[in-house]
């Protein structure tokens, strides 16, 4: 790896840290500016109890002091603090629980999307304007435009209620099949379309024509030259997509009652569970930043011509 590349990566990492810091700061202050508090319920607790709880969790301190304490705890001890709502649980444990499920769901769905999407896209490109290409394009257009709550509900009604083959809740491994399919369909369709157009572009390049002229076999041209180069846009898309589906899709998690991070995130905001909101925001932000960075670096691996500076 050249020093230029290293320098670039270092610069990107620094930028990523700044990004995460900005996210933390904005979230922290916006969250505290929203009306309501973590100890507020339909049935009010007494002022003394409220004060005791605020003192216990340090919420009675000035906001700036709370902010710096929070930053210090994260940086020095990687401590996200206790949840204010789920008393007795630490934020990091709740996030770990949720991420475990969401990550399993997301990684499988992303792999499924890539494994099916890339070959389908390649086939469509190679059979351009043929029947198979048209079918693939219609199908993927439909999947790209169909929101996940419709797809999820449809799968649920057919496979969980009518046929009762699969459970309607994501508490077991079997129960994750339907959410995985629901999550995978959109990126799969998108990857198919991306691969197709990029492949068509590559197939028209001079070096492919040269290879053909030199008598290189069709298989070798496709797998050795065309496919590899046509994957660059797919990689660009794959990183953020992975981050997006790994960090949990609230809609899919709600439909199938999957204990993922998406649900935890949304309920923490409703509950004004400040440490939980901060914790999930930071984890999600870091994931997205890292995925973007990784996909940028992967460009270089796939295509040495790309200059990372």
């Amino acid at each position: 790896m050249s020093s230029k590349t290293l320098k670039y990566i270092l610069k990107r990492i620094l930028l990523a840290i700044v990004t995460v810091w900005v996210v933390i700061t904005v979230t922290f202050f916006v969250m505290h500016a929203v009306p309501g508090g973590p100890f507020m319920g339909e049935k009010a607790i007494s002022a003394a109890a409220q004060a005791a709880l605020e003192a216990k969790y340090g919420l009675d301190k000035p906001l700036l002091q709370q902010y710096f304490t929070y930053l210090k705890d994260i940086v020095t001890r990687f401590d996200f603090g206790p949840s204010l709502k789920q008393r007795g649980r630490m934020v990091i444990d709740i996030i770990a629980d949720g991420m475990k499920t969401s990550a399993r769901l997301g990684v499988v769905a992303a792999c499924l999307a890539a494994v099916i999407g890339i070959p389908l896209g390649a086939v469509a490109a190679l059979r351009r304007n043929k029947l198979i290409d048209k079918i693939i394009m219609v199908v993927t257009t439909a999947f790209v435009s169909m929101p996940s709550f419709i797809m999820g509900s449809l799968l649920l009604v057919v496979f969980a209620i009518r046929l009762a083959w699969l459970p309607a809740n994501g508490s077991t491994a079997e129960g994750l099949i339907l959410p995985i399919i629901t999550l995978a369909l959109y990126p799969m369709a998108y990857i198919t379309r991306l691969t197709r157009s990029s492949m068509l572009d590559v197939l028209g390049q001079d070096y492919i024509r040269t290879a053909k002229a030199k008598g290189v076999s069709g298989v070798k041209i496709i797998f050795g030259h065309a496919l590899k180069n046509s994957l660059i846009p797919v990689i660009t898309y794959f990183g953020p997509m992975l981050a997006y589906i790994v960090t949990g899709s609230l809609v899919v998690e709600q439909i199938f009652a999957v204990p993922g991070i998406g649900r935890a995130f949304v309920s923490s905001i409703t509950n004004r569970d400040y440490p939980m909101v901060m914790g999930t925001t930071i984890v999600l932000a870091v994931l997205i930043v890292v995925m973007n960075l990784v996909s940028d670096i992967l460009y270089k691996v796939v295509d040495p011509r790309i200059n990372l500076e």
């Binding site: 319920g41 008393r87 499920t101 709550f149 949304v266």
Partner: protein, 692 residues
């Protein structure tokens, strides 16, 4: 194999669907299931807007629980798709049952044990239910949610418990105590109870349950440091006021002590009729000092030590809590259900899916727009039980609703405002709200203290409320009375506002804003109220806020008129009445606050009840607050109930509370389940259940 087939078919289905360009054009040859679903989806989808007007299912649940449910907005949109379910029998893709039948018919020898296994599994008595999402806590002292209370009631054994007698009626019976003793009145008016614990009571880790565990648990639950939502449940015990004094003494604590391992002595500030019921309340359950020293003890089965009918054997957070019969429980032989699985989901549509496919035998929430269909399709399984609570509209007492230029001031202005507010309460058709909007068997309300609260003689408190001989409560809410009510209201309002006889519209009424927390159910009710007022020329805008913001706005009194609801914690009307004292944290109406603080518009005469209280033209603090204090200090039960009726009279005379209906608890229970019961607080009991 089945799973793979399902996967392939799932893909085939979506492909087939998409091949049709996203429309529902049938291509029967490709995937029958795919064509069937959308075909049925379309009528359902058309029904959706109408169905949206249907009931707020979360109304049946405690209002606090409503909050998370409301977040389900995206999933709610999924409802139309699920509605495709009803005519499922018609589906051509019945391959699964068909295949199973074929397998069953096959006389293969291997099939027999499999069938037996299924039977054995059914015989192993387990039940899967879903009440709500992840409970905030399963620490009995900290819990304040109904679903949490159900779980905790299975896990712990307090001095008393809810049970069914031979006739099926709900009663409070001794549990950890040998008997529910009568109190002994002391000279200073306090009352002392001495309980003996049953022999053989053990914690789930095998240690003995002692009276000291109870004493410790109560001191802890009532402490300032714990700051438990339900800490105030101990206010009846002598010493509570000292604990919560502004500057408490170091040794301030509740007057409860363990005389020995088996004997617990507790002294109440004065006798209360609902004391035994409190003993069955989760906040009063025992915990052990060494166990709760670990702050995270109640979040993991390995550290969760309890003394009830069940132990927690698994907690997959946000997904599933498993309870299994506790062999150490003193009455273990009476517990019929071996294992209870509490699945955790707050999505009503998801709950219904799991109920429909038979995975869960009880669900505690149903989609609001499905209520009518469920009542028709599942007549034996759609359950409506009474729940002690009131859905109402509250006014901000400081909101000026007098016509512009009104010269009324002080007490006179307040009296006029009260008359106007009460007149507006008469305009609303509560039967329409219950039958057409809520649809969950709710009962039109004519008083604030809810149905289900009883007088000492067992009669309903709300039926003896108000002064009319002709109807229960403060208004006649029968359908026949609607016209009279309306006429009466118009006559009152005419005194204050200009009325156009030809159009039937008032002018000069200030524009109101109705505040509610975001939910289709609350919105539908708000829209009805809006249209009812628009009919007489009063403009009321609707404003919705997200749950926590809404609570904040309402508590601070930054509203003119707002949606509200209250559920009882125990069967005593005081829990509906003491919330309106000036200093109460639940005094959303702002009685005695702001400008209302100095309004001397109320009178109180208790001399006929033998109390030395007579106030004329007093402020809220001088009347209502005094009255509530008198109730809390009263030892004569009959006088006490009369005082509570008077408190409600005073409250309702302000017109600030406009009750709409009494809550019900809606849930779906499989008809295969026997022995289930629930109590009026909404707790559900599965220990005596059997599943056919």
């Amino acid at each position: 194999m089945k799973k793979i087939l399902a996967l392939v078919l799932a893909l085939a289905m979506v492909f087939a669907l998409a091949a049709c360009g996203g429309t529902a054009a049938p291509k029967a040859s490709e995937a029958p299931a795919a064509t069937e679903a959308p075909a049925e989806e379309s009528p359902a989808a058309e029904e959706a807007p109408a169905a949206e007007e249907a009931a707020p299912a979360e109304e049946a649940a405690p209002a606090e629980e409503a909050a998370p449910a409301e977040e389900a907005a995206p999933a709610e949109e999924a409802a139309p798709a699920e509605e495709a379910a009803p005519a499922e029998e018609a589906a051509p893709a019945e391959e699964a049952p068909a295949a199973e039948e074929a397998a069953a018919e096959e006389p293969a020898a291997e099939e027999a044990p499999a069938a037996e296994e299924v039977a054995a599994e059914a015989g192993a008595s387990s039940i899967a239910v879903c009440l709500a999402s992840e409970p905030d806590t399963l620490d009995p002292a900290l819990n304040s949610a109904v679903d949490g209370a159900t779980l905790v009631s299975h896990l712990f054994s307090g001095l008393a418990k809810w049970a069914q007698d031979d006739t099926g009626a709900l009663v409070i019976v001794p549990d950890a105590a040998t008997e529910l003793v009568e109190g002994v009145q002391n000279e200073d008016g306090t009352v002392t109870y001495t309980y003996t614990l049953r022999d053989g009571m053990k914690w789930s880790d095998g240690k003995d349950v002692t009276a000291a565990d109870f004493a410790f648990a109560w001191q802890r639950a009532a402490s300032v440091e714990l700051g438990a939502d339900y800490g105030y449940m101990f206010e009846v015990i002598d010493g509570y006021d000292d604990v919560w004094a502004d500057e408490p003494a170091e040794d301030a604590q509740l007057n409860v002590k363990a005389i020995d391992d088996k004997t617990l002595e507790v002294t109440l500030a004065n006798a209360v009729s609902y004391w035994n019921e409190l003993l069955a309340f989760p906040t009063y359950f025992p915990v052990r000092e060494d166990v709760v020293a670990d702050e995270g003890w109640a979040t993991d089965p390995s550290t969760y030590v309890c003394n009830g009918a069940y132990t927690m054997t698994g907690w997959n957070h946000n997904s599933l809590i498993t309870l299994e019969k506790n062999a150490n429980y003193v009455d273990a032989d009476k517990i019929l259900m071996d294992k209870i699985e509490f699945y955790l989901s707050d999505d009503a549509n998801n709950q219904l899916s799991n109920f429909k496919n038979g995975t869960w035998q009880l669900i505690d929430d149903v989609p609001t727009n499905e209520i009518a269909a469920l009542k028709a399709d599942y007549p034996d399984e759609f359950k409506v039980e009474g729940q002690i609570g009131t859905y109402y509209v509250c006014w901000n007492v400081n909101e000026d609703i007098l016509p512009e230029g009104s010269e009324l001031e002080g007490a006179e202005a307040e009296a006029a405002k009260a008359e106007i507010r009460n007149a507006i309460s008469l305009i609303f058709d509560r039967n329409y709200i219950v039958d057409e909007i809520a649809q969950g068997g709710q009962v039109p309300a004519s008083s604030f203290v809810a149905m289900g609260m009883t007088n000492p003689d067992g009669t309903q408190f709300y039926q003896t409320a108000g002064s009319s001989e002709d109807f229960d409560g403060y208004y006649n809410v029968s359908a026949d009375a609607l016209e009279d009510n309306f006429t009466q209201a118009i006559e009152v309002l005419k005194k204050y506002y200009d009325y156009d006889e030809t159009t039937g519209q008032f002018s000069g009424f200030p524009t109101l804003t109705y505040l509610y927390n975001t939910s289709e159910g609350h919105k539908a009710i708000g829209e009805y109220l809006q249209s009812a007022l628009a009919g007489i020329g009063i403009t009321m805008n609707l404003e919705n806020q997200e749950w926590a913001t809404f609570l904040n706005t309402r508590k601070n009194g930054d509203y003119s008129i707002a949606r509200n609801g209250w559920l009882a914690d125990y069967n005593d009307p005081i829990c509906f009445l003491d919330m309106w004292t000036t200093a109460s944290g639940n005094n959303d109406v702002q009685f005695g606050k702001g400008a209302h603080k100095d309004v001397a518009a109320y009178s109180l005469d208790l001399t006929d009840l033998g109390l030395d209280v007579k106030v004329e033209n007093g402020t809220w603090a001088e009347t209502y607050d005094v009255l509530i204090k008198a109730i809390k200090g009263c030892t004569d039960n009959e006088v006490r109930y009369e005082l509570m009726h008077r408190a409600e009279d005073l409250l309702m005379s302000t017109g600030c509370i406009c009750p709409l209906y009494f809550y019900t608890d809606l849930f779906m229970l499989s008809k295969d389940v026997d022995g289930f019961f629930s109590n009026p607080l909404g707790y559900k009991y599965f220990m005596y259940c059997t599943v056919a």
